[in-house]
Symmetry: C3
Subunit: 350 residues, 3 copies
């Protein structure tokens, strides 16, 4: 389905430069687009591509428009945040292609009679819904999902195949859980008694707000005594592990493979880069940004960007350097010794 630039501006704002009747069929990258595509410029390094791009239309920031806008041969939409504009417009294009889910319950699904499933919900094959669970209006629960006893799923949620959402956990509206995500399993709570581990029952829940997205094979443990909390708007990528009793603040986002140990408290609007690891019982301030692969072992009290990973090198160099890292104490001692001797020499000199 084609959309005119005038219609895009009508829906999403922005200033049109060029022909509002220009119609586009969807997005493509600057260098791949043809005249049927709309594209966008967000990366300053790609400014040179604007001149060569064959796209029919371009979404561009006011600043970039001043710098390179005139070099583009098609029409432009000038918008404050081209990337967000792209996201909204791409959702519109996507909506034309989406096949609406079939409402109702697949005959193979096993639903406890005491569960409440909204009539507009779509329940796929081999889904299990246990006693007293609730599934809201327009939810899509795909093949093989498991919804535990007394769990509550808000309206408009989409669970991809094989999501596991365990007993008593809750999620608000419009949540998206990707394949293989496990919500509400018992966390790692054991007391050591003379060398043997005694299991501590995990009696809390996982409580998730609205507009939360959770990636494939990500796991979130239920609370031990109190609850694990994921606030509104949080986005979690694939293969993340969130320990029991964690609290992730509104609109915080974590990239793939992040691990968060139990009882860590994240503020709002934080970001965590891929594979970063957050220790337990820490507090992370609002608007903290942890870069990928960093290890956080003490609380962060001040917003900012934090890093901590070992720099890559050719393996032979690394071998030499790694030895020196372990000898840093000796190096410091040698510097101290030198300082003493030199000081003595300088004084003799005078």
């Amino acid at each position: 389905m084609l959309i005119s630039l005038a219609e895009l501006v009508d829906r999403f704002g922005g200033q049109l430069i060029g022909n509002g009747e220009t119609k586009v069929a969807g997005f493509a990258p600057l260098d791949n687009a043809d005249s049927s595509h709309i594209t966008f410029l967000t990366n300053p390094r790609l400014r040179n591509e604007v001149k060569r791009s064959q796209a029919g239309a371009l979404i561009i920031s006011p600043k970039d428009n001043q710098l390179v806008g005139d070099l583009f041969k098609g029409s432009r939409i000038v918008a404050k945040n081209p990337y967000a504009y792209f996201a909204h417009a791409a959702q519109l294009f996507e909506s034309f292609k989406t096949i609406p889910p079939v409402q109702g319950i697949h005959p193979s699904a096993v639903i406890d009679p005491s569960a409440k499933v909204a009539p507009t919900a779509s329940i796929g094959p081999f889904v299990t819904i246990e006693a007293e669970a609730e599934i809201g209006e327009n939810c899509v629960i795909e093949a093989g999902c498991f919804i535990g006893r007394k769990a509550k799923v808000g309206a408009g949620c989409r669970f991809f195949p094989r999501v596991i959402f365990l007993n008593e956990c809750e999620i608000g509206e419009r949540g998206v859980l990707r394949p293989g995500a496990v919500i509400g399993c018992e966390g790692f709570g054991f007391a050591n008694e003379d060398g043997v581990w005694v299991k501590i029952p995990q009696t809390g829940r996982v409580i998730i707000g609205n507009d939360v997205q959770i990636g494939a094979n990500t796991t979130i443990d239920r609370g031990a005594l109190s609850d694990t909390i994921i606030e509104n708007g949080v986005k979690l990528d694939n293969q993340i592990q969130i320990g029991h009793n964690c609290h992730v603040g509104e609109n915080s986002a974590m990239a793939g493979c992040v691990g968060v140990a139990g009882s860590a408290i994240f503020g709002k609007n934080c970001t965590v880069g891929g594979a970063a690891m957050i220790g337990g019982h820490l507090t992370i301030a609002d608007r903290t940004h942890i870069t990928a692969s960093s290890v956080v072992q003490s609380s962060v009290t001040e917003p900012g960007v934090y890093s901590g990973f070992y720099p890559l090198a050719k393996h032979q160099e690394w071998e030499k350097t790694a030895v020196l890292v372990r000898k840093l104490g000796t190096m410091r001692d040698r510097i101290r010794e030198l300082e003493k001797t030199v000081k003595a020499l300088t004084e003799t000199e005078k």
Copy 2:
């Protein structure tokens, strides 16, 4: 259900100080508890909370009891290991709430006629059990689990939804496998032949002892020629990867996101912190403790606590320091040069 302190002491030991008739309904943290709760003190930093706590009862160590016991307004149980005491008592409270599983096989399950399923076992919807597999007494195999050919599951095991337990693998009694765990998949065995990888069949099994717990989406590879062994009492958290031919000794525990490469041998009573990575073909001594995010690339022959991860810093500081780490060789050379010059100067001086 309410329990009197006298009954707790009767079951689990400890010295009662106060009113044995005091009844409690369950556990809550020191600062959240009301008079219907029992609580416990294990973290020395929370000693100050004892005075303010509204809990009806407190489990406390002899030492803490001497220090702050008298400040607590309710009754006390003095126990050598309050955390383990809490674990045992919490299991008791939990047992009152647990809904007993329905014995028997759900009509949707697909069970090979040659499989042996104990009559007291509970087999959930969409479970697959292949030929000659054995499921012991009182096992609970939840929705969507897969038990491969000739696999053996000991009495009293609980497999949460969607556990995959592949052919010929074995687990002892009272094992707990959490959702999405995969036991016995073929490990990463390939021979390189002129740039192309040739698969090495993985013909060993995974053999798991009694009282083992395995976390959500954790994967344990079957052995290549011999078996992968997980001994009695081992506890593995979520998203752990254990390579082929590993051996994890009795009562060792690993936190979430740990990776263990093939043929690593762990002793007994080891602990591995979250996201630590253990290289292949290493031997780790009994009672070794690896802290979170550490990388272990050579054997550990002596018990103790080991660490190795890069310290976190503000990103700008990190950038400067990371450059210096790579220049450590130059720094060492400059120190050497200085030492020579200073030595020469000192000798001239004499």
Copy 3:
């Protein structure tokens, strides 16, 4: 089933030293083998084991054969690449034990009428195959797998239980996907608009070549605008995460727990050690080898072996060293200061 050495040499080449009529039943390690086994020597540290080994036959390289071949009491096959020879021969032994899958569709599977399933394919219990998907000849799709709309699975693929292969994704011939793998889920694409994350639809696919193996619980995201590409012969271990728009070149291999951020481009014949992390938008040259646990945050333009992880130490030492790492700037300044002073002293001296 027994095989004579003559037959092995006939199938796989190599030079026979000893009795070609010697029959063996399968492989065992050097130190465990008895006369019914064939074994192999690849690790130079195990050369001493050759003399003691009770194996009936030994695969050995020309060089090792010169060094220790005569010490072995059984027959030998001298082969250029004993490990690859072992792999091929072990596949042969394995083929005798393999129970052929039952062709046809299990009655519990839910297959859309518009899907095309080859008559020689084996479709297990609780499998879902959506509209217009295609499953090639001799495929084995095990219990609980999910194949999305318009997905294409080439001939001879094996999907272990609970693999999720989402809409429009494609895989070539002879692919092996292990339990819980998730192919084609939407990647982590969000635009930040005034603190709120706006989802970017992920409209690309995952396109996988021939002879690719993908490990348990590994996740590969579909492309955002273009496709994620996995070329022929790639081998991925368990719990790997590959972000959207990545491209992994022919015959590259990655060990368990590796994370690759979006739009990373790998060359051919690369290897990545376990738990290494690769940043987004990087290019990695052909024949690059990243060692385990290394963090790659800039492109690698030259083939070679690269490392970068913090060395392990006793925790107390680590604590001291980690402080010094953060003070490297100060140490460098102190060295500079010393150099100045010493230079001044030397000049005075002259």
